[in-house]
């Protein structure tokens, strides 16, 4: 600020009129409120949320909870083998998905695949894969290839490929790639410049999502066993069936510890790779 302007009275600024946004904001807010209330009215087909059920049934819950609070530590040895199977599924699934995600991602991103037809086709397939929930994939695959770790592994691969390809290809789309113009100007083929330049340039984007996929895998594969897709989930389902809450409690704690460990490890790796 120059010394002259501080002493003089402030000149009137030629401010353009402020746009009126409150009628619009009020309209959107009241519409959202009305919609939320409407979905809770059973009279017009809304969902029934019976809060009284909590008051009536909390005693059962409390009994279960107190059973869960007494872990049966002698059950630990029996959980080791299924837990290792779960971890194995998670790692192998993430590794296979990482390998598959590289070409698919480069096909699904505009800068690395200017061909609209193949790009749209890859994106459509990935969107369909992502639209199917993981438990539904697991159920279908158990029916197709039988009970065990294999359907679980296939589910994880499909799930991871969907996530990695979508997130990384969108990240590639939203960044500039001037080096690709230079390579194109020098007469390089798209495939060669993708491999030599676009892939190493995008590797941090990939490694971030690969690690995220691994974290998700440990969490999901604990659940997949419930539909017969192997791992610790199957044991969890079985112990629940026998109302062995002490054993269930051990399994839940074990899953919690493993998930936390994997997340801590991947956070360290992520910082190193950035």
């Amino acid at each position: 600020m120059s010394p002259g302007t501080t002493t003089e009275p402030a000149t009137r600024l030629d401010l353009p009129p402020r746009p009126r946004t409150w009628p619009r904001r009020t309209l959107v807010f009241s519409a959202l409120t009305a919609f939320t209330v409407a979905t809770c009215l059973p009279a017009i087909g809304g969902i029934e949320i019976d809060l009284a059920a909590i008051a009536q049934n909390w005693r059962h819950g409390a009994a279960n909870l107190s059973a869960l609070l007494q872990p049966n530590w002698s059950f630990v040895p029996r959980t080791i083998q299924p837990m290792l199977e779960t971890l194995q599924m998670a790692f192998v699934g993430a590794a296979i998905a990482a390998a598959l995600s590289v070409p698919l991602t480069l096909w699904a991103a505009r800068p690395t695949n200017p061909n609209t037809v193949t790009r749209t086709a890859v994106r459509a397939v990935i969107n369909v894969v992502r639209a199917v929930p993981d438990l539904v994939w697991a159920t279908i695959l158990v029916a197709m290839v039988g009970v065990g770790a294999l359907p679980g592994l296939l589910t994880l691969v499909l799930f991871d490929v969907g996530i990695v390809v979508k997130l990384v290809s969108e990240a590639i789309d939203s960044t500039d790639h001037p080096y690709l113009e230079a390579a194109r100007a020098g007469g390089a083929t798209q495939g060669r410049m993708n491999r030599a330049l676009a892939l190493p340039q995008s590797l941090p984007l990939f490694s971030n999502q690969w690690l995220y996929a691994l974290e998700l895998n440990v969490r999901i594969s604990a659940i997949l066993g419930i539909v017969g897709a192997g791992g610790i989930g199957r044991l969890l389902d079985e112990r629940f069936g026998f109302f062995a809450y002490g054993d269930v409690s051990v399994i839940i704690l074990e899953i919690l510890v493993v998930v936390l460990l994997i997340e801590a490890a991947s956070n360290v790796l992520r910082r190193r790779l950035a």
Partner: protein, 275 residues
């Protein structure tokens, strides 16, 4: 395509000879409706060093990109050496591009990739189908790329990531990438606009040397009048996509520049003398 034996006989000097450039009634209209070039006709002899001067938006970048087909022409023909660029596609277009080196205002290096692999990109057009498919480089590719890096004085940085280099160093690597194509034409799109004055002069001198020693046809986009006067013999002026000046650069008067710019000369139209 050059055979290894011929190149070995020729020794250090690139085997390819300079190409003339010819634009005949070239117009470019982008898909969004903007007309960037209107009926431009030009004849540039093999081995000439020519500057294209104009303000941003005058069509210089578009003009230089029609020469290697990065921008397709809407009307007219572009001829480089024995090839008609307009209308070429796929493999044939890539082959022609292999003979035309290009450097950019933003250097356009892959920043996470080392200098060596950035330079090797210049050899991609010369690789056969099998090498392209497998992504392998031949001993000759390595030798040409390393020689090019040595020429621009960047051999000691060969294993550094491009991001670790200064702007001037990055532009030198970009020049090495273009030189390792063993090109017949060198295009430069505002090569010094992102550099400080001493570095800008160094890069312009490098282009001058390439023109003098390798006898390449050099076409360089500039918006500064004194750089055009100092480093090029012939100057082409563009305004609103039309050719408004074509003549010797050294004798271009202030009035000529005012006509090209479409306004009076300002201090920022000059970079300042060589130091």
């Amino acid at each position: 395509m050059t055979h290894d034996t011929q190149a070995a006989e020729a020794g250090h000097a690139p085997a390819s000879a300079a190409w003339p450039i010819r634009l005949d009634g070239v117009s470019v209209t982008y898909p969004n409706g903007t007309t960037a070039l209107r009926d431009v006709s030009l004849d540039i002899d093999a081995g000439e060093m020519v500057s294209i001067v104009g303000l941003s938006g005058s069509g210089k970048s578009t003009l230089i990109r029609t020469i290697n087909g990065l921008v397709p022409v809407t009307a007219g023909t572009v001829t480089v050496g024995p090839h008609t660029v307009s209308g070429l596609h796929g493999r044939r277009l890539r082959e022609v591009r292999g003979h035309v080196g290009m450097i950019f205002q933003g250097f356009n290096l892959a920043t996470r990739v080392d200098v060596y692999r950035n330079t090797l990109v210049g050899r991609f057009a010369r690789a056969g189908r099998l090498r392209t498919l497998l992504g392998v480089t031949s001993a000759r590719d390595r030798e040409v790329a390393l020689t090019a890096l040595d020429t621009v004085g960047m051999l000691d940085k060969v294993w550094s990531r491009a991001a670790a280099l200064s702007g001037g160093q990055q532009q030198r690597v970009a020049i090495a990438r273009a030189l390792s194509q063993e090109p017949s034409i060198m295009l430069a799109d505002e090569p010094v606009a992102s550099l400080d004055p001493p570095t800008a002069h160094a890069v312009m001198s490098e282009l001058e040397r390439i023109n003098a020693e390798r006898h390449l046809t050099v076409l360089v986009n500039l918006h500064l009048m004194d750089l055009a006067r100092q480093y090029t013999r012939r100057m082409i002026g563009l305004r609103d996509g039309e050719l408004v000046y074509d003549g010797p650069a050294a004798e271009a008067t202030e009035a000529d520049f005012e006509q090209i710019y479409g306004r009076r000369i300002r201090p920022q139209d000059r970079l300042g003398d060589r130091t």
